[in-house]
Symmetry: C2
Subunit: 149 residues, 2 copies
DNA sequence: AGTAAACTGTATATTTGCTATACACCTATG
DNA sequence: CATAGGTGTATAGCAAATATACAGTTTACT
C-alpha cells in the first residue's frame, strides 16, 4: 500500500497533468478556437450578465489592465459586447453576443460531460471514503487559503 | 452530504487554487527569487546530474528551445553550469553550481515542510478511505492520459 | 458650488515562458 | 565518405499578465 508521501506525489502529478490538459486551446463551434483564459472570461460574463471590468478582474484574480485587454480581444472576436452603464458614464457593462452565448453553451456541455466522466469514476468510490475525501479536500483548501493569504 | 458533482467542483477549485499558489515566485537564500519553472528545472538537474538539454526538455514537457533558453537564464544567474559531454562534442551535461545546490536544498526543505503539512492532514483520513482515494486518483490519471494523448 | 479624492476603464511598455522555424554542428549508419 | 538524424541555439513571434501612468467620471467634503 502507498504511504502518505506517495499519495501526495500522486496528487501533485495529477494536478499538473490536469492543468497541462486545460492549457490546450479548445475548438468551439464553427472553427472558433478559444484558450482557457478566454473561455473562462466568457463563462464569468455569462454567469454575471452586465458585470463591469473591475469586478471581472477581481473574479478572475487579474489586474484591471489585463481584464481590459482580454475584453478587447473577445470583442474583436465578436463574443463579448460592451455597453456603457445606465447608472454611470465611467462604467461599462459586459454581455455575451449570440456567438458568445453559443460558445458558453458548448463549454457548459463539455464541462458537464467531463463532470459525468468524473462522476462515473467517483461512483465506484464507497460512500464512507467519499465523505473522508470531502473532509480531506476541505482541510486542504483551508490550508491553501492560509498559506496564500 | 455533498454529491459527486459538488465533490468534482471542490476538486477543480482546489486544483486552481494550488496552481495559483505555485505561480507565486518564491524567495530562496540571499535575496534570490525564483519562479516555478526555474526551481522546477533546478530540481530536475539536481536529481539528474549531468542530464543533457534534450532530456531535460522531455522531462519538463517543453521544447528543446525553451529548455535551452531556461538554461541560459539559470546560468546567467549563476545556478547552473554547462559542460561539454566527455562522450560527444554535440552534447552538453548540466550541473548545479554551489548556489544552485543551495537553492535546491532550500526547495527540498520547503517541499518537505509542505509535504508534512499534507501528511498531517492525510493522517486524519482513515486507512480504508486512503486506499479508495489512491484508486480514484489512479483512475483519474488514466482518464487524463486517455483524453490528452 | 467647487475642489480634492477615489474610482472607472485604457494605453503603453515590459516581462515571462513558451512555440516554431531555421540553422550550424556533431555523430552514426549505410 | 556521404547523408540522415541527433545535438544545442538563434531568432521571431505569441499569449497572458504586470506595472505605470493617465484621462474621464463620480463622490465626498467643506
Amino acid at each position: 500500500m502507498k504511504n502518505d508521501k506517495e499519495l501526495a506525489w500522486l496528487m501533485e502529478r495529477i494536478i499538473h497533468k490536469y492543468i497541462q490538459y486545460e492549457k490546450i486551446p479548445q475548438q468551439y463551434c464553427d472553427g472558433l478556437v478559444l484558450t482557457q483564459p478566454e473561455i473562462h472570461t466568457i463563462a464569468i460574463i455569462g454567469d454575471n450578465e452586465g458585470i463591469n471590468v473591475t469586478a471581472l478582474a477581481k473574479t478572475r484574480g487579474i489586474t484591471k489592465g489585463a481584464a481590459s485587454q482580454m475584453i478587447y480581444k473577445l470583442r474583436d472576436k465578436g463574443l463579448v459586447e460592451k455597453r456603457v452603464s445606465p447608472d454611470s458614464d465611467a462604467e461599462l457593462n459586459l454581455f455575451l453576443t449570440e456567438m458568445g452565448k453559443k460558445a458558453r453553451e458548448e463549454h457548459l456541455n463539455r464541462y458537464k460531460t467531463n463532470g459525468e466522466k468524473f462522476a462515473s469514476i467517483l461512483n465506484s468510490v464507497p460512500k464512507e471514503a467519499k465523505k473522508a475525501m470531502v473532509e480531506f479536500f476541505e482541510a486542504f483548501e483551508k490550508e491553501l487559503d492560509r498559506i496564500s493569504g
